[in-house]
């Protein structure tokens, strides 16, 4: 306990006395944490955009006019039982007509033609959303399958628009998978580069203490007593860099929120504020981990004796 107290005290004292070297290390850790925070926000935008795109994709089953309600209900139930299906919404033929009228209320000739028929020419339809874009294929296969014709559903179905959407769905599937893979690779690469730079800067800072480490060992200090204060210093770099990073992102996200919301589709300022605590924890832990591990590895070189 007394050792821990001394290590922490020494760490703070060393940090204060190292002056410019401490601030150089903090600057580099800040850059790394800046990259990590940028990646978090980038992932949020990517995730948000992909979700929006995914939300626009669906499969619709159009029924013949006069299709029996029982059959429609039973098809709806069997679709809901598919594990791939996220939701099924039924729009009856009356609702479809109302929606159609609403959509074309400025188009007098169409409305007049509709009034002329004096009957509802539209069938109801089922709108199906899958949990994942890749699962639409399975749902489409189910609709084509034998079970459907056995149950007589084929007779009530006018058309399924999956095939028209198939190309778009397939393309989207590829783009989304690619975007996610690319995002992950860029993240990984940037983080590795940042870690290497941080590690080298901290190693340089500790290099100046190389002689002192040797003297401490000669005086009879244990490895932990020598290593500890450097690790505390590393943790302080992480904590200070976290605070600087989070403060820097305040005006940055504010500007992005005000000027880029329509382009990004997401207000980054409100996202940043509402997720500040989670971002703080991720950045803080990354900073402390980076600082402590870099210090640990750097001191280890000089601790052999």
């Amino acid at each position: 306990m007394i050792l821990l107290k001394r290590i922490i005290k020494s760490g703070f004292k060393n940090f204060k006395r190292s002056g410019l070297i401490s601030w150089a290390a903090i600057l580099v850790v800040t850059i790394t944490l800046f990259v990590i925070t940028t990646i978090i926000l980038f992932q949020a935008v990517l995730h948000f955009s992909l979700n929006q795109i995914k939300d626009k994709v669906d499969v619709t089953i159009y029924f013949n006019v006069g299709a029996s309600q029982d059959q429609i209900n039973s098809l709806e139930d069997s679709l809901k039982q598919l594990p791939e299906v996220a939701s099924v919404t039924y729009t009856s033929s009356d609702e479809a007509l109302a929606l159609f009228r609403e959509r074309h209320n400025a188009d007098y000739s169409t409305i007049a033609a509709l009034d002329e028929i004096n009957a509802n020419p539209l069938g109801g339809y089922l709108n199906i959303k899958a949990k994942e874009i890749s699962q639409y294929e399975t749902i489409a296969n189910f609709l084509k399958g034998d079970s459907l014709s056995v149950s007589g559903f084929n007779s009530i179905i006018d058309k399924v628009d999956y095939n028209q959407n198939k190309l778009v769905i397939d393309k989207l599937n590829g783009i989304i998978a690619g975007a996610q893979k690319l995002g992950f690779l860029i993240t990984l690469l940037l983080i590795i580069i940042s870690i290497i730079i941080t590690f080298n800067t901290i190693r340089l800072a500790i290099f100046f203490s190389k002689e002192e480490i040797g003297v401490m060992r000669l005086v009879g200090a244990s490895k932990m007593r020598v290593r500890g204060p450097f690790m505390i210093e590393g943790a302080i770099y992480g904590i200070v860099a976290t605070l600087i990073t989070l403060v820097l992102f305040w005006p940055i996200t504010f500007w992005l929120g005000r000027n880029m919301t329509s382009f990004l589709g997401l207000n980054l300022y409100s996202y940043y504020l509402s997720n500040l605590f989670q971002i703080f924890i991720i950045v803080l832990l990354s900073g402390i981990f980076l600082g402590m591990v870099s210090s640990l590895l750097a001191v280890r070189r000089y601790l052999n004796k």
């Binding site: 007394i2 002689e211 002192e212 060992r217 005086v219 244990s222």
Partner: protein, 226 residues
Amino acid sequence: MIYFNNVSKVYNKDSIALEDVTFTVKEGEFVSVVGHSGAGKTTLVKMILAEDVPTEGTVFFESLDIHKLKSSDLTKFRRRIGVVFQDFKLLSSKTAFENIAFAMEAVGKTEEEIRSDVPHVLDLVDLGNKANHFPYQMSGGEKQRLSIARAIINQPEIIIADEPTGNLDPVNTYEIVQILKKINDLGTTIILTTHNKGVIDSVKKRVITLERGKIVRDDKDGKYSI
């Protein structure tokens, strides 16, 4: 207390630092090791501190084979030795007080012991008014006195002084030698390496003379004679 048994240290075939060195240091002795630069004095000190490993032979501290100690045992062993270096080897980022306090912390002394003992030992080496000075704010003589204060604070069984007067003027040299003699009078074993004739002649104790890594003379009441 210390036993060198046929110790050789060969860096490469053109650089033999120690060759077949055998000698014993008894408890309470004051032994000066003399020799020209490159005679092997510092290598000999490194052997005792286990900073370097012999190519052949063994070095014992009482019953311990120094070079077979595990890392944690080595730390404990070093706490039994006080070391004074020519270049002082003080912790430059710590004040005079903290330099000594660090050595006490290393052996697990309490804050109370540190608070009471450090000012006392600083007074002993006449640095009472420099407790809050950093090494760069002190003269060579003051740094060496601080380094001696650090070496004796934990009452070690032996003090090794490697050319402690090498960077000092005659007045400071005299002071340092007097301090070392006083410490020896109080019962601590001292091994002093030097090539300063005045130092050897004023100590008037056992002198081991090294030449090209070999012991060429071991006189009980030695004088400087190279």
